[in-house]
Symmetry: C2
């Protein structure tokens, strides 16, 4: 452990990577970590108790996104939900409609989408990638142009995990359906942060994650429209209507359910509070940190993410410096931060080397305060100044 | 909730379905449910903290089974580990060695093995099922007979989840390797209960589950021999050496690691205590319950499972009756108990309808006591007598 770990006031501004669990979520989970340990498939009271808890959680999850209980499939997280949606459709299509080999996604999706598509590409599917604008928007006309009657599936993220832009999902789903394709959205960064009604959206499949909305890690869900058939990717005892076998992660599911219930109740508060903090953060950064730029300033964005370019600074150096000074931040996606590759999202947006090198993502959570934001900006300002002194701005 | 749920002394004898979590496991997990919520892929202190915890857990898991740390892949449980092993081998073989289409398993495997094989059968693999004896043993000569140089994979369970018999895994692995095949074992019911050294066993892949050894649900692991390459089934951010993407279930992994550490420390105690309780249970049942038979009385069996046939009694009726009277038991696998199909394991063993109908699996855990066993036998004896009165023994 480095000495920096002893700083007493770490300010956590990486809520798009993961969030602290709410006390109410913990309280709800504890009995299922202790006395209620039955296998939900067991017929005795221990099993009935945990099965009931799962079904209660399923109701809460379904309420948050406006679907039926039976349309929620619990998974081990957002990544598995994305894999299940994409491979589940592809695997069934391969058997029932083998000529439908065309699948579409965008260049700025999360790795779990891009890698699942790459896997299918290796198995004979034709993958097309939609371009994005410099404001990280997908043009519906671009999708319309490449859709054809061999298109099996289109997968477009609801809101981007690095820059926070929101896509016109209902419009994209509508044009996809007109051509006979299915539509999936990775809504891991959107669920719980913005009102979502899957029926109004008109999507066939939607992925969710618990730990992005102050629930526990290791659990998520896939919304699957009732009538739609997909194949499983994990086979076995037939749990989750045979679509996701394996003894259920009971305490995780219970915690996720509670997190969804709270998210539904506090949606208005979340949007108001978090976007106010985010706007305050943006105002101060742009005024107080020279040569800083807010990326994707469009109205169509999620409340919690602010993505900056700090010209003349190396993003990774900045994250490490901020960490030493007590701020947890990110250059972009946590998933790709360890392999130190430059962001495929910013590349897709056409960012130059200088624009993407100085990346900083600050993502706010329901637990952050204005005092923290103010403190963070002061520290950020100092950190950027110091780094620029070491490696002069050119 | 039925009135039976208020019985004050439920005795839990279904430890093969799931186990209560140890207090030490809970204590170890709690910080990772509360203050240490960072995404392990994040570069800042919150991320480093959880990444360190995962690596500590990995060391503990590897110690229990005698492998290197880098040979442990964390999954969401035993079912996923089984699916990853089987489909991971199959998917890679399909690309690199497409003529190796022959895969072998047995008729008494867990559903997660059988269904994964069935899935591959639908994708062009030739599946052969090894028969088992009435004592649930697989004959090595049977395997030798069907192995050929097109055999890609053999998967045989370490110990059976219904009747508890242990197979000669090292012998089966050896003959498989002689023919150039890979060997996987589903050791979900064996790890933590019997000394396992994967290097001595000579297996290529081995599946484990946390909630079967007093750890949390929702987590497990696959041992994969270092040099062996397999494909992933869940793609994305590249966690677990790219073999299992998705933000790690940190608290689950931490709990699993602790459960493995404790299992290693208490292995001798477990074997002695649990097998003594099991033998006491068997003695009393056979003496006090008329027309009862112990199945698979071979020496090659795991310490915690006792499987009986109680002639003239319907197993499901008995489980429900026992539940009312405060005992949690099972007819066999929890995974198949809700669809009420008769046991494929007993069918594989050649059991008649009368022999399999009266099935009762009692599985003992480290927390059970002799007083509980004694009380359970008295209740069982009464329950069987009552049921036989209702539906007279013929």
């Amino acid at each position: 452990m480095s000495s920096s770990d002893s700083v007493p006031f770490p300010i956590y501004l990486d809520n798009a990577a993961s969030t602290p669990m709410l006390d109410e979520v913990m309280t709800e989970m504890l009995p299922y970590l202790k006395e209620h340990y039955g296998n939900p498939s067991s017929l005795h009271r221990f099993g009935r108790m945990t099965m009931r808890a799962i079904e209660k959680a399923r109701t809460r999850v379904s309420s948050l996104i406006g679907c039926n209980r039976s349309e929620v499939i619990f998974t081990s997280g957002g990544t598995e939900a994305n894999n299940l949606a994409i491979k589940g459709v592809a695997d069934l299509v391969r058997k029932t409609n083998p000529e439908k080999k065309h699948i579409i996604t965008s260049t700025m999706e999360h790795e779990s989408i891009l890698e699942a598509f790459r896997d299918l590409e290796g198995k004979g599917f034709e993958v097309e990638y939609l371009p994005v604008t410099k404001e990280a928007q997908i043009e519906t006309t671009d999708l319309e142009r490449i859709l054809n009657d061999r298109t099996a599936l289109v997968s477009i993220m609801f809101s981007n995990n690095e820059v926070g832009t929101i896509q016109r999902i209902s419009e994209l789903a509508r044009v996809t359906h007109q051509k006979g394709g299915l539509f999936h959205t990775d809504a891991v960064q959107a669920v719980g942060k913005i009102r979502i009604d899957v029926k109004q959206l008109g999507v066939d499949l939607l992925s969710m994650s618990s730990h992005k909305i102050n629930g526990p890690k290791g659990v998520g869900a896939l919304y699957k429209r009732e009538a739609l058939k997909i194949a499983a990717i994990i086979h076995g005892g037939g749990q989750e209507s045979t679509l996701r076998s394996g003894t259920e992660n009971v305490h995780g599911i219970v915690g996720f359910g509670k997190a969804c219930e709270i998210a539904a109740q506090r949606m208005g508060e979340y949007e108001t509070k978090v976007s106010a903090l985010r706007n305050h953060l943006i105002d101060r950064v742009l005024h107080e940190v020279p040569n800083s730029r807010l990326n994707c300033s469009t109205q169509n964005r999620i409340a919690n993410i602010a993505h900056f370019t700090l010209f003349g600074v190396n993003g990774e150096d900045l994250i490490i410096k901020l960490d030493e000074l007590g701020i947890a931040a990110s250059t972009g996606s946590a998933c790709s931060s360890r392999n130190q590759t430059s962001s495929h999202v910013l590349k897709a947006m056409g960012f130059s080397y200088a624009e993407s090198t100085g990346s900083l993502r600050l993502s706010i959570g329901i637990m952050n305060t204005k005092v923290e934001i103010d403190q963070a900006v002061s520290i950020l300002s100092k950190a950027v100044e110091e780094l620029r002194k070491l490696s002069p701005f050119d």
